[in-house]
C-alpha cells in the first residue's frame, strides 16, 4: 500500500470517528435531558427544519434527533471524503465512482421524500 493510500485510510477513519463522536455526544446529552425531565418525550424524531431551534431551547427530543441526523450524515460525508481524496490525487476512475455513489444517495432522498 502506498503512502498516499495509507493517508487516505487515516483521513477516512478520522471522518468516521469525528461523526460518531459528535453523534454520540448529542445522544448521551439528550438521554441525560430525558432522564432529568422525567422521561416523557415525543414518539417521533424532530423534523430537520426544527432541529436547531429545538436544541438551542434545550428540548430533549431535538437533542436526541440531532445525534441521529449526525449519525445518518456520516456515511455520506465519508463518501465525500473519498471523492476529495481521489480528486486530489487525480484518480479519475475512483473519483467518479465516489461521485456516482453521492449522486445516487441524493437521488434516493429526492425520490423518497416525494413518494
Amino acid at each position: 500500500m502506498s503512502e498516499q493510500d495509507r493517508r487516505l485510510h487515516v483521513a477516512v477513519s478520522r471522518v468516521l470517528a469525528g461523526g460518531m463522536a459528535l453523534s454520540l455526544a448529542a445522544m448521551v446529552a439528550g438521554t441525560a435531558f430525558v432522564l432529568a425531565s422525567g422521561g416523557a418525550i415525543e414518539g417521533r424524531a424532530t423534523p430537520i427544519g426544527r432541529l436547531l431551534p429545538g436544541v438551542l431551547s434545550g428540548d430533549p427530543t431535538a437533542c436526541l434527533s440531532l445525534g441521529l441526523v449526525t449519525l445518518l450524515a456520516t456515511p455520506a460525508l465519508r463518501v465525500a471524503a473519498l471523492l476529495a481524496g481521489y480528486l486530489r490525487r487525480r484518480d479519475w476512475l475512483f473519483a467518479s465512482l465516489a461521485a456516482a455513489v453521492l449522486a445516487v444517495l441524493a437521488l434516493s432522498l429526492l425520490l423518497g421524500s416525494h413518494s
Binding site: 500500500m1 493510500d5 495509507r6 487516505l8 485510510h9 487515516v10 477516512v12 477513519s13 468516521l16 470517528a17 461523526g19 460518531m20 453523534s23 454520540l24 445522544m27 448521551v28 439528550g30 438521554t31 430525558v34 418525550i41 415525543e42 414518539g43 417521533r44 424524531a45 423534523p47 430537520i48 427530543t61 436526541l64 434527533s65 445525534g67 441521529l68 441526523v69 449519525l71 445518518l72 450524515a73 456520516t74 456515511p75 455520506a76 465519508r78 463518501v79 473519498l82 476512475l93 475512483f94 465512482l97 465516489a98 456516482a100 455513489v101 445516487v104 444517495l105 437521488l107 434516493s108 432522498l109 425520490l111 423518497g112 421524500s113 413518494s115
Partner: protein
C-alpha cells in the same frame, strides 16, 4: 427498563455485526418487534439507524488498520445504492414471499458451502500484481501480511446490486449476501470481506434510514438506545476481529446465515416471525 433492554440487544447485535460483516439488523428487528412490542415500521427504522452505527463504528478501526478495501467497497457501493433505489421502484413486481423463499434457499446453499470449504482460497497463493482493486493487510492471527487480488468483479457487482435491492425490500442489511460473495466468488480473504462489507453497509442503510427519518417513523427513544448499544458492541467486535482465526469467523457466519435462512423460509411459507 425498555431502554436498558434495547441497549443490551443493540450491544449483542453490534458485536455480531462487526465480527461477521453484517449490520446486526437481523437481530434488532425481531427483538424490538416480538419482545418489546415496537410497531414493525419503527422497528425497521430503528434497526436501519443502528446498522449505520454498527458500520460507522467498526469501520473506524477497520479502515485505520487497512483491513477495509476502500476501492473495492466504493466500486461495489455504486451497485448497492442503485439496487436500493430500484428496490423501491420494483417492489411491486415481485411478491415478498417469493423473494424470501429465493433468498432463504440461496443462503442455505451458501452456509453449507462455507461450513465445508471454510478456509480462504485466496490465502493459498500470494500474487505479485494486486491489480487496481487488490489489497493487503497484516493478519496478527497468522503473524504475516496477507495479499490478495480481486477477481470476478461483474459477479460481485451483480450480487451487490441484488443485496441493495433486497435490503430495501426486506428490511435487512445485505451483509449476508456480500460477505459470502466476496470470499467465495471474488477471492477476498474473510477478514477483508468482513471489514469491507461493514464499510459499505453504512452507505446502503443511510439512504433508507434517512427516508424513514424524513417520514417521521424514527422514534428517538427506540433508535437512540439501539445506537448506543450497537456502538459499544461494534467497538469491541472491531478490535477482536484481527485477532480471531478466519476459520472460526467463517463457521460463525455460516451458522448465523442458516438461522436467517430458516426465518426467511418460514416467512415465505406465511409464518411471520416479525
Amino acid at each position: 427498563m425498555t431502554f436498558a433492554m434495547i441497549l443490551v440487544a443493540g450491544a449483542v447485535a453490534g458485536l455480531m455485526g462487526a465480527l461477521l460483516g453484517l449490520g446486526g439488523g437481523v437481530l434488532i428487528i425481531p427483538v424490538l418487534f416480538l419482545f418489546l412490542g415496537v410497531p414493525i415500521q419503527q422497528a425497521i427504522a430503528a434497526s436501519l439507524v443502528a446498522v449505520v452505527a454498527t458500520s460507522t463504528t467498526s469501520a473506524i478501526s477497520y479502515v485505520r488498520d487497512e483491513l477495509s478495501n476502500m476501492r473495492l467497497g466504493l466500486a461495489l457501493e455504486v451497485a448497492t445504492t442503485i439496487g436500493a433505489v430500484l428496490g423501491g421502484l420494483t417492489a411491486s413486481y415481485m411478491s415478498r414471499e417469493a423473494l424470501s423463499a429465493i433468498f432463504g434457499a440461496a443462503m442455505i446453499g451458501v452456509s453449507f458451502y462455507l461450513l465445508k470449504n471454510g478456509a480462504d482460497a485466496a490465502l493459498e497463493e500470494a500474487p505479485v500484481d494486486l491489480g487496481r482493486l487488490g489489497g493487503r493487510y497484516h493478519d496478527p492471527a497468522l503473524g504475516r501480511e496477507v495479499r490478495y487480488r480481486v477477481r470476478g468483479l461483474p459477479f460481485g457487482l451483480a450480487i451487490s446490486f441484488l443485496a441493495g435491492n433486497l435490503s430495501g425490500l426486506l428490511g435487512i442489511g445485505g451483509g449476508p449476501l456480500k460477505v459470502p460473495a466476496m470470499t467465495l466468488g471474488m477471492g477476498v480473504p474473510m477478514k477483508a470481506a468482513v471489514a469491507t462489507s461493514n464499510f459499505m453497509i453504512g452507505v446502503t442503510a443511510c439512504a433508507s434510514a434517512a427516508l424513514y427519518y424524513v417520514r417521521g417513523l424514527v422514534d428517538p427513544l427506540v433508535a437512540v438506545p439501539a445506537c448506543l448499544g450497537v456502538t459499544l458492541g461494534a467497538f469491541a467486535g472491531a478490535r477482536l476481529t484481527p485477532r480471531l482465526k478466519s476459520r472460526s469467523l467463517t463457521r460463525a457466519l455460516a451458522v448465523v446465515l442458516l438461522a436467517l435462512a430458516a426465518q426467511m423460509l418460514l416467512a415465505a411459507a406465511g409464518v411471520r416471525l416479525r
